[in-house]
Symmetry: C2
Subunit: 194 residues, 2 copies
DNA sequence: CTATAAAGCAAACAGTCGTTTGTTTTGTTT
DNA sequence: AAACAAAACAAACGACTGTTTGCTTTATAG
């Protein structure tokens, strides 16, 4: 009677399912990835996935949640190491881009799969994103900018450019996520303090 | 014998097909849009579409081509009206964003549908995009920037931010595509010339 | 060792997908 | 009016979709 829930099996395969789902969602997109694709990747039968998730959209939401959590943690840890507002923003930009381009699949799903692609889960996905956006808004708010500077545009410019980098970034070149983020921030900073 | 091809019927419905395909591809994405969706939108039977296009991917490529052509024309016309490099770039940015956010479906398909979403047509789509990118590269090359400025990063920063705006822009607010583009450019310009 | 619940298998459901085929309608040209 | 091609219909093909159901395996708890 005291025991209401049994301890789940140790070799749980749920992490593996999430990993492969994240990989496939990011590679082919949500709609083009079938439950059978995911099942095959984890060497399972399609129906077995429904023991872990009630529907395909729920699997996406789970991946999405983990992606947002991962980016948020990386960014929070990075900015905690600095005091000066510009340094904090730069650290955040670097962490954000490294989470996207190096950590891999989970984070990329967050900016690759659009909420409108999954109508039934759109509200949940948007809520997850908004929480993260607020973090950057705070960082920009703390910057010592000229009073006439539009801080909202500033944030959208920076974050948009960072997110778009998924489309052209190739790991081969001399550019690293860190150098790209720094380069972007330098272009923005020099403009604001002569 | 002299006549090899008959003049096509005047009330051709091909433009209508492209219009609806563009609308649906931009609303739901490529994979989530079915040939039946498109056929229903133009009040046709699914099979009839195959008189105009050999495959779904070819329909996408046709929409994509028109989208790229549309943006390119708008931008070319806009920059032709200015001489000074910064003014030319600003005109291009405004035209680019207006093409995306006002002209509508065709242009948005170009930045919404990723080449990797359509493996069989990916090469064709990338080729179309690259031609356009070169246009912006020229504009940035003409700017009178300090010698240490990284012009490639400059271009990627601006274009990325512009393209990403599709995700947050809402037509309701005080912000217009024009004001956004100008705002972005001001943030970038002030940094480069004290 | 046995009871029990977690986890997965096996097989199918109804529906949708892109596409093909043969035929019919429609408009234009002569 | 006859000839002909453009354009669309009507109907189906096999493959694939997300999901459900009932049964079996497997590990843990008492």
């Amino acid at each position: 009677m005291a025991q209401t829930l049994r301890i789940p099996r140790s070799d749980n395969r749920l992490p593996q399912i999430l990993d492969e789902a994240a990989r496939l969602f990011r590679e082919k997109g949500y709609a083009a990835t079938s439950m059978r694709d995911i099942a095959a990747a984890v060497d399972m039968l399609p129906g077995s996935l429904y023991y872990h998730f009630a529907a395909k959209e729920d699997l996406l939401v789970a991946v999405y949640e983990q992606g947002v959590r991962l980016i948020t943690e990386k960014v929070r840890a990075a900015i905690a190491r600095h005091e000066e507002p510009w340094h904090r923003l730069e650290a955040a930009a670097v962490a954000h881009l490294e989470a996207l381009l190096k950590t891999g699949d989970y984070a990329l799903v967050v900016i690759r799969v659009l909420p409108q692609d999954v109508p039934k889960a759109a509200a949940r996905l948007v809520r997850l994103r908004d929480g993260y956006d607020a973090l950057f808004a705070e960082l920009v708010a703390a910057l010592p900018l000229p009073p006439e500077t539009d801080r909202q545009s500033f944030r959208l410019l920076l974050l948009g450019a960072l997110n778009w980098s998924q489309h052209w970034f190739r790991d081969s070149g001399r550019h690293s996520p860190r150098s790209i983020a720094r380069s972007f921030l330098r272009l923005l900073r020099e403009a604001q303090q002569p």
